[in-house]
């Protein structure tokens, strides 16, 4: 009699953690990752934020969101922020099907129209590059799409992109 509630609580906890994981994995943009180097886990995405733990190289983590150069990650120990470049995201096959492609998949009509992904031009191997012949027509098409500086500024303004002053980065001294 005494043992049952304990087991039940454990079971409930386990189930809860599964659902939490599942719900987070289902969120768009949630990725998994591996820790590339030992680093500290911060309460907020700033280098002088409170350290709430550490992460060790090789550990798997769940990437919940990104802010600037920081990833919010979920680990067995809890959530926190870690520098983006300390994590390597895991392979997350992004298959982008067009609405048409999805329809075709659903109706089982794949196989004819959708195999075009594998047809067409050969890879950019050295041989095809060496034997490439000058194509004046394609070059003039490319050059016809030129955007001038004024158009570029208008485009930036539409996207609310504001130019900033940022000095060039120096090469880091090797350790």
């Amino acid at each position: 009699m005494k043992k049952i509630p304990k087991a039940a609580i454990l079971l409930v906890m386990l189930l809860l953690s599964f659902t939490i994981c599942a719900s987070e994995l289902n969120k768009p943009g949630v990725k998994n990752g591996t820790v590339l180097k030992n680093d500290s886990l911060k309460a907020e995405p700033f280098s002088d934020a409170t350290e709430i733990g550490t992460i060790e190289k090789g550990r798997s983590v769940m990437i919940l969101e990104r802010k600037g150069g920081w990833y919010k990650i979920g680990t067995a120990k809890g959530k926190g922020w870690v520098r983006m470049l300390s994590i390597r995201t895991s392979k997350n096959p992004k298959r982008r099907l067009s609405p048409k492609g999805i329809l075709e998949l659903a109706s089982g009509r794949t196989g004819t129209g959708t195999v075009v992904l594998t047809t067409g031009i050969r890879g950019l191997d050295e041989e095809s590059l060496k034997t490439a012949k000058f194509n004046a027509q394609q070059l003039s098409i490319l050059e016809s799409f030129i955007v001038n500086r004024i158009q570029a500024r208008q485009f930036a303004a539409t996207g609310k992109l504001r130019a900033k002053t940022v000095p060039y980065l120096k090469e880091a001294k090797s350790k």
Binding site: G68, G69, T89, K91, G120, I121, K133, Q138, G159
Partner: protein
């Protein structure tokens, strides 16, 4: 005078003197570099400086009868020449892989690219950007302001900031004249060959310079040039008001491909591994961009249309 020069050149090429002349230049260059600059890359980087003038003077003294040849080979590459070289490379590359047939896409890429290029020290170049019909993951730059991205790489992207990061890396190669330096280096070493091409048309000279077809884009640059272009990319995207972590995000994604995947074969052959690039970026960026509030603009990012099915059924 010109005839005399050409005759001198021909005589000189067909005599056994030619190889020794080329070898001498090579040796002279090597000694010169060793003596004054132990770092070869720095030497190539300093082609516009005093060193270059000194080199020309030395060569002229050593070969008083070939002043003109020395001039022709070591002169500065003018803007016109730079653009001509770039056009030849890009025209050849487009001969192998055409543009994606989607004017709206091409116009969009030019807008993003031109705005990023606006943040660099050569905003007045006639910058051209394009997406080419290849499933490979790659991007190319050619002298004079030409930048091409493959369909494969473009379709991996999720936001305008990521596209800006990729284009900014290539803009970095153009403004640092990385490819031009490689060409100049080979030009100096291939002095003899260059003299032959003096008799040929302009396009032929350029074609000789860049090698066969578009093979130059399959040639790896110095690793340091790639790391430099990465650092420039971070800065240019940040200056343009974008989230500066677009390129690191893309490098994360590219890092997932195995080296034996055909689609990344050329990229991995010509660039350091994405992990190494991320590591270098991390070291250079430190915490400077941690609280970057630039825009990602996912909503404005132009989604690629699926490839048109081949007709003929």
């Amino acid at each position: 005078m010109k005839k005399v020069f050409i005759i001198t050149c021909i005589m000189f090429i067909y005599s056994s003197f030619a190889p020794s002349f080329a070898a001498d230049i090579d040796k002279l260059l090597k000694d010169f570099i060793k003596e004054r600059l132990p770092d070869k890359d720095q030497f190539i980087a300093s082609t516009t400086s005093e060193l270059r003038k000194k080199l020309i003077k030395d060569l002229k003294q050593k070969y008083p009868n070939h002043n003109k040849a020395v001039d022709a080979v070591l002169k500065e590459v003018s803007l016109e020449e730079e653009v001509a070289i770039g056009r030849q490379i890009v025209g050849n590359l487009l001969g192998a892989v055409p543009l994606v047939d989607d004017p709206e896409l091409q116009k969009y890429v030019n807008k993003v690219g031109r705005w990023v290029a606006e943040q660099c020290e050569r905003p007045n170049l006639n910058w051209h950007f394009g997406v080419i019909e290849s499933d490979d993951l790659n991007a190319f730059a050619a002298p004079g302001g030409y930048v091409l991205v493959t369909r494969g790489l473009y379709s991996m992207l999720d936001s305008e900031a990521e596209l800006a990061g990729v284009l900014a890396h290539e803009i970095g190669h153009v403004i640092s004249k990385h490819h031009l330096r490689v060409l100049q280096k080979s030009q100096v070493v291939d002095l003899g060959k260059q003299i032959i091409s003096q008799k040929m048309g302009n396009n032929q000279i350029i074609q000789n310079l860049i090698g066969r077809g578009a093979e130059i884009v399959a040639r790896a640059l110095d690793k340091r040039a790639e790391f430099e272009a990465d650092r420039i990319a971070i800065v240019l995207t940040a200056r343009a008001g974008y989230d500066s972590h677009g390129l690191p995000e893309v490098l994360h994604l590219i890092g997932h491909y195995s080296a034996d995947d055909d689609r990344v074969a050329l990229l991995f052959k010509t660039h350091p591994h994405p992990d190494a690039r991320l590591e270098k970026l991390d070291a250079a960026m430190g915490t400077k961009f941690d609280s970057d509030t630039g825009q990602t603009l996912e909503n404005r990012f132009y989604k690629l249309k699926p490839k048109k099915p081949k007709s003929g059924y």
